[in-house]
């Protein structure tokens, strides 16, 4: 303990004023008014990802050169990194905090890199399904159905997927041209799910040979039949020859069938299907014109796709609405009205209003209608509630019928691959809870990423792992002194001249070097990466390391609560709270 020494003179004194004994007894932590603690928080990217990917986690693995570890981490939440890395609209990037600094991280490109790198590893995937006795039927092998099947297999259930088409994949196979998503990538990721023990019965359309009462052996059913019916324009002449729906055309092009298509193709619509059809037509050597009734700002198609379509020679005419299709020999005439934008409608977009007497004609050899897709309801079981074109479900995917769950495009107007993957995952969790007699709503609340709606099934499977604070890290909470401005890397694109000659992939996967550089740009919002700033700066040596590794413990006997660790943490992974007085 403290003991003041009275020296008789200089000869007795030490050279400097120093305590002669050690000072361990002096618990300076008692002076503390605020307490720092390690507190991993939610990054904005993950909370925005409908599939619930641990984005900061897998990017951190990339920076460590552990590409397989990155793959394993993505696969905890999402069986389709190769697909999402290519076709997802990556809302994660629009919320990336780096956007406020220079440019967001190319998350989609990193995800694609991880998937493609790991596909070269020739890993053997062990069968894990069928440990439990319950059997589950899944109707539809699109991203929602396969995601549900994947997670249920990992939860050790016996899963059978029924698919009407000859090949699994749903809209991924039918609706997305191979220049955006090569069939090998799709086949690879579906076969990885099969390897877990999931059985896929193709050529088994629901409602025809397969009926609900034939599924009595299954203790739970997940319906994810998608939205495959092209919406009609309700104008005269649309039932005529050489007038196709966009999806029908893509369905024919994608398996590589020969199709009859005139030289001048007019496509009606402004969504991704319209763009896919137009770019496919260009690749078949045709001239493609898109007619869209609103303006560029309202177009629902992804911006990157629109840019690439224009690069490839697709013409887009805005504020044009067809009112009649007339046929004269093989040539068709499309009578159109010019439009102007009026008040906002219920979708928040400005409503197109026809300009009176502005009629004009567009001539084309083929007309393609791609004005959106609707769900098929004829085969759905009675008792399922439907409203505004979708099947209504609870947050956990349950329908009004016990044991029957639904998801994907069938139950949502947010018709993206990532949303479908997320809904399949949520249904898998709900089915697991249902079969175990647990409250799935409560389980979902436990594993929301941030405030949701995405969930982390990893946390459901590993409740013992360190939890993550739902608080979403903002740009202002980062200490950007530790980051340097750097350019976002972009995937290289093929030359337009070469691109339009075939259906080969437009963009290329990052090389290892580029992937590492891009991953290094990640702020790692809210996630400790062991940079040791806290350890270096702590003036009280109260940041504890065990075996040379940060233990994420603070020695509160001596921590004075100065908060330097908190302010010098580059990524907001340390919090401060006031000490109870």
């Amino acid at each position: 303990m403290s003991n003041l020494i009275h020296f008789k003179g200089a000869s007795e004194m030490p050279m400097i004023s120093i305590s002669l004994g050690d000072m361990d007894w002096n618990k300076t932590g008692a002076w503390r008014t605020q307490r720092p603690f390690y507190d991993d928080k939610t990054p904005p990217c993950s909370t925005t990802c409908p599939a619930g990917n641990d984005i900061v986690g897998f990017i951190l693995k990339i920076t460590q050169g552990d590409f397989e570890g990155a793959w394993n981490l993505i696969k905890q939440e999402n069986p389709f990194p190769g697909i999402c890395g290519r076709v997802c609209f990556h809302p994660c990037e629009s919320k990336c905090n780096r956007r406020d600094y220079d440019e967001p991280i190319a998350i989609h490109a990193l995800e694609r890199f991880v998937s493609d790198f790991s596909s070269n590893l020739n890993r053997k995937i062990e069968k894990v399904s069928g440990v439990r006795k319950e059997k589950i039927a899944i109707i539809g092998s699109g991203p929602a159905g396969m995601s549900c099947a994947y997670h249920l297999a990992r939860l050790h259930y016996d899963v059978t997927v029924f698919e009407s088409s000859p090949l699994a994949g749903g809209m991924l196979r039918i609706g997305i041209p191979s220049y955006r998503l090569p069939k090998e990538v799709l086949d690879r990721e579906i076969s990885n799910i099969e390897a877990l023990g999931v059985e896929i019965r193709t050529g088994t359309p629901f409602g025809e040979n397969l009926k609900l009462d034939g599924l009595e052996d299954y203790q739970a059913i997940f319906i994810a039949t998608g939205a495959h019916r092209s919406r009609a324009l309700e104008i005269p002449g649309e039932k005529g020859k050489s007038v196709f729906s966009g999806l029908d055309l893509l369905r024919k092009i994608n398996p590589g069938k020969k199709i009859k298509l005139g030289d001048k193709v007019a496509i009606i619509g402004g969504g991704n299907t319209a763009i896919d059809v137009a770019r496919s037509a260009i690749r078949l050597g045709k001239k493609a014109t898109i007619l869209y009734r609103r303006s560029k700002e309202e177009m629902p198609a992804f911006e990157d796709e629109v840019v690439e379509a224009i690069e490839e020679g697709v013409e887009i005419r805005y504020l044009v609405s067809p009112i009649r299709i007339q046929q004269k020999d093989s040539l068709k005439r499309l009578e159109c009205l010019r439009m102007e934008l009026g008040e906002k409608d219920e979708s928040g977009r400005r409503r197109p209003v026809p300009i009176p007497d502005s009629n004009f004609f567009i001539e084309a050899d083929s007309m393609i209608i791609a004005a959106g897709e609707e769900i098929e309801v004829s085969f759905l079981p009675k008792g399922m509630e439907k409203k505004e074109g979708i099947v209504l479900t609870q947050r956990n995917g349950s329908t009004g019928i016990k044991g029957i769950f639904a998801g994907g495009d069938l139950t949502s107007n947010q018709r993206t691959v990532a949303h479908a993957i997320g809904s399949g995952k949520k249904a898998a969790l709900a089915i697991d809870c249902y079969l175990k007699g647990m409250d799935s709503e409560g389980a979902i609340r436990q594993i929301l990423i941030g405030e949701g709606p995405s969930i982390s099934i990893f946390r459901h499977l590993h409740p013992e792992e360190r939890t993550m604070n739902p608080h979403v890290v903002t740009f202002e909470e980062l200490n950007t002194d530790y980051f340097e401005p750097s350019k976002r890397h972009r995937e290289s694109k093929g030359l337009v001249k070469k691109r339009i000659k075939g259906f080969g992939e437009v963009t290329s996967t990052f090389t290892e070097g580029i992937a590492l550089e891009e991953a290094e740009r990640c702020f790692g919002c809210g996630t400790c990466n062991g940079c040791e700033n806290c350890y270096v700066f702590c003036p009280d040596a109260s940041v504890v390391k065990t075996e040379e590794i940060l233990s994420h413990q603070v020695d509160y006997d001596f921590c004075k609560g100065c908060g330097i660790c908190f302010s010098e943490c580059p990524r907001g992974a340390i919090s401060l709270k006031e000490e109870a007085r």
Binding site: A10, I16, S17, M23
Partner: protein, 384 residues
């Protein structure tokens, strides 16, 4: 190996050969090329030393205080305003008895803004408890750094090695560079008496009440008083190993001289030529170069000048209200002696103006012609 290098490069070589563990510095002309050279070597992996970037000279010295308390050998370099900004931490380094070595490239302090050489920066720090060693040429710069660590670590006091801006810092001359194998036995690793150990935490530099404070200062003075003997031993050993030595002062010129001329820094080199010429003309004169300013070599100087009549001293600095700082120290050191020469205090070369052979001859001429100085301050080359 001989190399043609600048004074600042000679500093860098001295630091490399001293196996410094940590460098922290903030750039300022004309020092900058020292730490540029060192930081580039560190960045390229050729020098295994930690470089700590800081936002000011105050922080640079604070970082060294931390590192030195942690028990490692450390270094910084600065000039002028940078040294002034360190002032508080300079006191701390000596009070905490830390053997830090600092190189100061002499530069005037503004305003008016000026980047050229004079000694007002380092001499402003004369009361901070640092040993101060002034260098005449680039070889001496390198050698003095090696000696500085030995002295500092023996007496547990920090050392400031000083060289003139541009005349040395940016001018190249041939310098013999010893090898690491030659230096290592001369300069063994630093063994601190007290050192931070987080396994056995202690309180450092805590409060000392009036009951003890005076005694701590007394100990610093006692350590300063040990310096002449220790520095001489170190210099003698250096001479035996490397064939070069410098002493606290150096006397040159006539054996039994009536007049002495005292200088420091590069002015000495010019004075050597003037004195040689005047001796050739029959003038009874000798030169004294002051290398060590702190602790002031009173005894060594008196031993040399005791029979002389007059002592001229050229100061490249000004303590306004008194005059040249070397002259002031010299007068004070001679006052208690019964026989003492007349001190002629000249001031010249402020803000980097050349102190030419003609000016030096003019000072000697004045000293020869006058029995005693007509004024306390004799301005040399002043345009009135």
């Amino acid at each position: 190996m001989k190399k043609v290098i600048t004074g600042n490069q000679a500093v860098a070589y001295g630091v490399i050969l001293s196996r410094v563990d940590l460098i922290s510095a903030y750039p300022i002309t004309p020092q900058t090329t020292i730490v540029e050279e060192l930081s580039e070597l560190i960045a390229s992996g050729r020098l295994n030393t930690r470089f700590l970037k800081v936002e000011s000279e105050h922080s640079a010295m604070a970082a060294l205080i931390g590192a030195s308390t942690g028990g490692v050998r450390c270094f910084t370099a600065t000039s002028s305003h940078g040294l002034a900004y360190m002032h508080e931490m300079l006191h701390w380094a000596s009070g905490a008895r830390l053997p830090i070595v600092l190189v100061n490239v002499n530069r005037a302090i503004g305003p008016p803004w000026n980047i050229w050489s004079d000694q007002s920066d380092s001499l402003s720090q004369r009361d901070t408890g640092w040993i101060q060693l002034y260098c005449e040429n680039n070889q001496e710069v390198l050698d003095t750094i090696l000696q500085a660590y030995r002295i500092a670590e023996s007496v547990k006091l920090p050392v400031m090695v000083v060289l003139d801006a541009y005349v040395l810092s940016h001018t190249s001359e041939a310098v013999e560079i010893p090898t690491m194998e030659e230096v290592d036995p001369f300069l063994p690793p630093y063994c601190p008496e007290y050192q931070i150990d987080i396994q056995e935490p202690k309180a450092f530099s805590m409060i000392a009440t009036p009951e003890h404070f005076l005694e701590f200062r007394y100990k610093i003075q006692k350590a300063m008083e040990e310096v002449p003997e220790i520095a001489k031993k170190v210099d003698d050993e250096f001479r035996s190993r490397f064939g070069r030595g410098y002493g606290a002062i150096e006397r040159y010129g006539k054996e039994e001289a009536e007049i002495f001329l005292m200088t420091s820094g590069t002015v000495t080199s010019t004075s050597r030529i003037v004195i040689k010429k005047l001796i050739g003309k029959g003038v009874s004169i000798a030169g004294i170069k002051i290398k060590r300013f702190r602790p002031f070599p009173s005894k060594e100087i008196y031993e040399e000048v005791k029979g002389a009549k007059k002592l001229a001293i050229i100061d490249r600095n000004l303590s306004a209200g008194v005059g040249g700082i070397f002259a002031q120290e010299l007068r004070a050191s001679l006052y208690s002696r019964e026989e003492r020469p007349q001190v002629f205090g000249f001031i010249s070369g402020l803000g980097g103006r050349d102190i030419t052979p003609e000016l030096i001859e003019e000072a000697i001429q004045y000293t020869m012609e006058h029995p005693r100085p007509e004024e306390e301050i004799l301005w040399l080359g002043l345009k009135k």
